[in-house]
Amino acid sequence: MNQQDIATGIPTEPKPEQASDGPERKATATLEIEGMSCAACAAAVQRSLTKAPGVRKALVNYATEKATVEYAPDLATPATLKAAVEKAGYGVAERQPDTSAADRQAEIDRQKAAAYQSLKRRLWVAAGLTAVIMPLSMIMLWPALSARVNVQWLNYLLLLLTGPVLLYSGREFYTSAWNAFRHRAANMDTLIAVGTGAAFLYSLAATVVPHFFMQRGLMPEVYYDTTATIIALILVGKVLEMRAKTQTSAAIRSLMGLQAQTARVIRGDQEFDVPLEQVQLDDVVLVRPGEKVATDGLVLDGHSAVDEAMLTGESLPVEKQAGDNVFGATINKTGAFRFRVTKVGADTLLAQIVKLVEDAQGSRAPIQRLADQVSAIFVPTVVCIAILTFVLWFDLAPESSRFTLALVNFVAVLIIACPCALGLATPTAIMVSTGKGAEQGVLIRNAEALEKAHEVNTVLLDKTGTITRGEPSVTDYVPVQPAADGQQLLRRIAAVERLSEHPLAAAVVRFAEEQGLAALPATGFRAIEGKGATASVANDTVLIGNQRLLTDEGVALTETAASRAAELRQQAKTVLFVALNGQIAAMLGVADTLRDTSAAAIGQLQRMGLEVVMMTGDNAQTAAKVAEQVGIKRFFAEVLPHDKANKVKELQAEGRVVAMVGDGINDAPALAQADIGLAMGAGTDIAMQAAGITLMRSDLHGVVTAIDLSRQTIRTIRQNLFFAFVYNTLGIPVAAGLLYPVFGVLLSPMLAAGAMALSSVSVLTNSLRLRTFGKQNR
């Protein structure tokens, strides 16, 4: 089953998408309608919406007061839809999803804090009373003292002390077990309730009607200490468990807490500090040094360095200037800038990251399946084993002690069996690791992807945009005329290229800017298709282009220039020739450069035992050069975009488990075909949707982090499941008394309670070790 197909929530925001039957775009929006009082109102709103231009389909639900509208975004907008509803005489509620989500979370946090306090109170009562009950119950260990005590009165005193432990501290176990029982469900509380309940009821009978037992030759023994200790110990476990559980979701909470509270919005000539919920699309927001960027937008003016570590894991600040994107929750370091808001609320990158992590935490890892099947039948099975234990001990033990032994072992079996550890083994590890991944700029779409990544043995890298930057850069600048001033010449070249739209021209302009050269004006610009461009700069005629352009324009190449050009071509570089007033003046070598971190990251992947394979559309010579530079031995050259998925299949046919790393739209089929797809963050949304893992940072170290995180998580889950299964498979037979015939060993129910309390805590603690991931690697 394709999870993606079914995991679609009801769209609440307009979501443009490509129609499958043609180029026409469609979008859906959910509007909250106000003022409807009957089904006829809903019909009226629906009619009005259906008639509105651009609306393809509208459905209005009176019960939920929501309208779901499918429309063509070119013809209609959320504003025109709102107008259509208002035309029918009704209103559209402004959505404030974040506020309600925050309120909801605050309410949950408040309830959790209250529950934690109440749990602690119940523990203190149980612990305090148990501290008195225990020595009183052991009074028979001192014969001199016990001879002076009236056992019957002592039992009543113990009953009085145990009552509050049962009715106050342990009440939740009994109500919860009863509620579950009514639903034909059984949980951990069922086991505790039946176990302690049986011990208590027997003790109660022995206290109130001791003669009934004595007449039948039985000692009316009481187990108040067992009952109270079990409850106290289980409460200790619950307190520890609750504390640890809040830590498993710490990463996502801190992500949510990153959001700015207010934004400095410029309206007219004035600046206002407004709450984030009131910031609207197209607002202009001012960000000063040290401030958080409020939401996502496009820089209008100003210049600064922005710390984006919280979203991408990249520790170095990123330079921002007019035309660059900025993201909410990032921190502005040095300068001030103004940006136009392009996304708010649930559409922002931070909100999408939080949503993605939450989705991943809600998904099921295949490794969990066995634990799931076991926990579904666990409690009723344990109850049956406990009953069987009682019957066997009763039938086989010496008559004088048969009831006592049967009861003690019955309680021990119930108490030691803990389904919590099984239930917690996988989800807690997934919660910690997905949160940890997000902190380091590795977004894991679901638990299945996390699990799959650890099996990978081959990493297939698409060259452009992953190993290399994916954009051409000037690598060599070779002035040919010895007398020429290289810098002045470069200013002239940049002046022409600034007017060109060719990607190579952008690389030349960037190169000139990096040298700190001021711009010169150019006149008479003319692009010569397929060859280059020309313009007049400072009274010089500048010609830039390929060798054909030079030949066509009658510019002769000197011998030195020709041999230098051949050298550059051999290094798999594109050569740009520059002529000044009809004379060859300079050459530029342009190439897609390697990312600084690629070679190191590839080396790390190889040391992890993975084979790294490269794939590129370039010719074999260029591919070989790049592969050699980064230490890759195997590569596929001249791969056409539609053939990329086939290369993945080829590797899979060799029996390899393939992780594909890519960034472009044309990588999407290959990302989907691979056993696990990793999309590079600067990549497109389509690539991200096709990938199981998204790397927020354009750095191959993210692949190392993702695979390493997956390996550690799966190791943790396996340890957890091992602990949980071994604990139960060994614990239950020991508690049932299996060792007794050979070693004479029986498990005290109190020890069983201690072990049970520790089992889920140990699984949680083991999962929480993943929080140190990253620290140990650096």
């Binding site: 909801r104 309830q111 469900a185 998904s363 099921r364």
Partner: protein, 125 residues
């Protein structure tokens, strides 16, 4: 084997039979989600030591709203998981939490508590 032992053995066997029948073989409450005018399918589920009803039938391809009303503060039921739909949600006590989803494939999808002890099913037809 004396009479008491016989009695205890028989009672034990009977009890085991009852436990197995009660938890695994007794009939479950099945409820179909209510469809509204707009095509939305809705069901109210009470959460108290379990889910009632615990089997919800819905039709595929149409949006579903499940309203989980949790009427207890026992920690067992505080979390709701619907892993096939990537949903993990905390259910605040004594409140209604609405889960929205769009089932596009037929099948039976389980919803459980955080520790997979309390269980219910969403049957998509």
């Amino acid at each position: 084997m004396d009479t008491v032992e016989l009695f205890v053995t028989a009672a034990g066997a009977l009890l085991i039979g009852l436990v197995l029948w009660y938890f695994f073989f007794s009939e479950r409450e099945v409820v179909s989600a209510v469809s509204s005018l707009g095509g939305l399918q809705q069901a109210d589920i009470t959460v108290k030591g379990g889910y009632s009803p615990d089997v919800i039938e819905v039709e595929r391809g149409r949006p579903v709203q499940l309203h989980f009303h949790r009427t207890e503060d026992a920690s067992c039921s505080e979390e709701l998981l619907l892993p096939d739909f990537h949903i993990r949600r905390e259910l605040p006590a004594f409140q209604t939490t609405t889960i929205e989803l769009l089932p596009q494939q037929p099948g039976t999808f389980e919803f459980t508590c955080g520790m997979h002890m309390l269980r219910g099913k969403l049957v998509v037809k």
